[in-house]
Amino acid sequence: MPTIIKLENINKTYYNGSPLHVLKGIDLEIHEGEFVSIMGASGSGKSTLLNILGILDNYDTGEYYLNNVLIKNLSETRAAYFRNKLIGFVFQSFNLISFKNALENVALPLYYQKTGRKTRNKIALEYLDRLGLKEWAYHMPNELSGGQKQRVAIARALISKPQIILADEPTGALDSKTSVEVLDLLKKVNETGMTMIIVTHESGIANQTNKIIRLKDGIIESIDDNSEHNFSSFGFQNIK
């Protein structure tokens, strides 16, 4: 499988008051179609890493190739273009626009691709249908349950046919039953060949993924293959 994400010695320091060296040289390679989770305690730098991967934040030194394009010192306009074309986001707090209905929320990325209104609404409805939300298309976010909201958000992430999906604690605000549903959904999406990166601190969630990257104090502690899904909640791989 070809490489989709390549990080070489990424460093990032925040200068709020005293300098905070958050990422201390990250080297990482993620291949197309992988289902990866990034784990780590709070403060380990996992959110920062996700922001950099999502071109929401920039880094100080190193090199980040997304789809073989060097993502460095991009203008805001260019960054917006790449975010729109290459990346789908799923957030913990869903981040749906509250005054737009489910359909309009899903269609929003296409609006920024200058797709016509009719076309994008048609496509959005297809995606909602695929996620079993057709009846809810014209409901406002506050009329939807947490799981439904997250499914709308996933539809929104998928609609622009991105190269990767970045999910930041996608089940963090959901109960365990809904979490399982959402995770199954993400798995299904991955099975269609979409590269999926999930940031989580829940071992149960991480165990569903095929590869677990552990971050600690700004460096990668370990990268474990988890294709057997036998990863225990204690952080060890079960001995067969």
Binding site: D57, N84, N95, F99, K100
Partner: protein, 416 residues
């Protein structure tokens, strides 16, 4: 390019907080409304005043006698003196720069029902004038002509009557020319009817005045050589006030009035008064612009302020949009368009409403139905006002738009 989606977005965000949008828009509406109404009011005041003084030549001056306030050459103070025909001749000969000098005889109070024609009668003031008075104070004529030199030379008993005199003594539409009317017991042939609607004059309303030849009046009313008042009109390039000074010096010498007596001679300098009115109107207009623009600016600042608040409130939404691929420029145009739309709609409504109000005032004033505009602003003014609104609306959105543009998606998304 007309982008329906963008306007749809703008409409949604504006209508999301209707009361706030309305109040913001009202600030702009009121601002431009005040500006237009005040400008219209200032113009209207000017038009009304110039309508009232229509016909009065501005480089003119009226002089008449008074009482001395200083004892001089053995005369006590408080003495009455009178301008005479001789004074007029001397002034005409000695003072350079006089275009016209026109003596007048104006008895102060007319007798009850002094003007009679058959069954019809009325009380009107009578004045004796020279033909050249028509130059100092232009009389528009509805019928016939004004007095001429031959009328005076031959002491013809003819008269020019004002429009209200005509209404009182003649049937509507009747040609008065050549008809006789009796004024103070003497018959005069009507040779003309004035059409003036001036409200400002020196011996009552010109519409209610009967003018007869000066020489006739002096004789019939036992004036002898006396003159009640005289009007002068300066030649071009001569200041009225300078001529006035020279005339007063001559009059003082002729009538043994102390040169330092300030009250013996009365005068009315139209030029000076016009300058006063002019500067008053200028002041009113300046005030109108300052107050109007002040109100408008307050409204515009209100828009800017509210847009700032909106941007702050919508930080998260803007962050989401940015994460989904909105370019900074598209966020910026969105905010600016919103500000523009609010300002433009409110502004155009304000202009329209102000024009409507001014039109109603004009219609209310215009009893004669001539369709004259008194208070209404010109089309150009309204176009300029519309342009100002468009520019200010765009400027008002600029600050908030830049703030919105600076919002970083991660900061916005972490703000929960």
């Amino acid at each position: 390019m007309f982008d329906l989606d963008r306007w749809h977005e703008i409409f949604i965000t504006i209508s999301r907080n209707k009361l706030r949008s309305f109040l913001t828009a009202f600030g702009v509406f009121w601002g431009i409304f005040m500006l237009i109404v005040l400008i219209g009011g200032g113009n209207g005041l000017g038009n009304l005043i110039s309508g009232q003084v229509e016909g009065i030549t501005t480089n003119s001056c009226y002089i008449w006698n008074g009482r001395t306030s200083e004892a001089y050459k053995g005369f006590r103070k408080g003495r009455w003196w009178t301008v005479s025909n001789r004074d007029i001749e001397i002034i005409k000969a000695k003072v350079k720069g006089i275009e016209e000098i026109s003596p007048l005889v104006l008895p102060w109070t007319p007798a009850q029902d002094n003007a009679v024609r058959g069954e019809k009668k009325g009380t009107f003031s009578v004045q004796g004038t020279y033909p050249n008075f028509n130059k100092v104070y232009t009389h528009k004529m509805k019928f016939g002509r004004y007095l001429n030199d031959i009328d005076l030379q031959e002491h013809r008993k003819v008269c020019v009557i004002g429009s209200r005199v005509y209404e009182a003594l003649f049937n509507r539409g009747e040609d008065p020319s050549g008809k006789d009317i009796r004024v103070d017991g003497v018959y005069y042939k009507v040779i003309g009817v004035g059409d003036g609607n001036e409200d400002m004059s020196f011996n009552g309303d010109p519409r209610e005045t009967i003018s007869i030849p000066f020489t006739v009046m002096q004789q019939l009313y036992n004036y002898g050589e006396n003159v009640d008042m005289f009007a002068i009109m300066a030649k071009p390039n001569f200041a009225v006030s300078e001529l006035q000074e020279q005339i007063e010096t001559i009059l003082k010498a002729n009538h043994d009035i102390a040169p330092y007596d300030k009250q013996a001679i009365n005068s009315f300098n139209v030029e000076a008064r016009f300058q006063q009115i002019g500067s008053l109107l200028f002041g009113v207009n300046i005030l109108a612009w300052i107050v109007g623009f002040g109100t408008l600016f307050a409204g515009i600042i209100g828009v800017s302020n509210i847009m700032m608040v909106t941007v702050r409130e919508r930080t998260q939404e803007i962050g989401i949009r940015r994460a989904l691929g909105a370019k900074p420029s598209s966020i910026m145009t969105q905010i600016m368009s919103e500000s523009f739309i609010i300002t433009a709609i409110a502004g155009f409504l304000g202009i329209s409403f102000a024009v409507l109000i001014l039109q109603m005032v004009d219609l209310g004033l215009d009893v004669s139905g001539s369709g004259a505009t008194v208070f209404q602003i010109s089309f150009i003014t309204s176009v300029v006002a519309a342009f100002i609104i468009i520019i200010l609306g765009t400027l008002a959105g600029l600050g908030p738009a830049f703030r919105a543009m600076k919002i970083k998606p991660i900061e916005a998304l972490s703000e929960e």
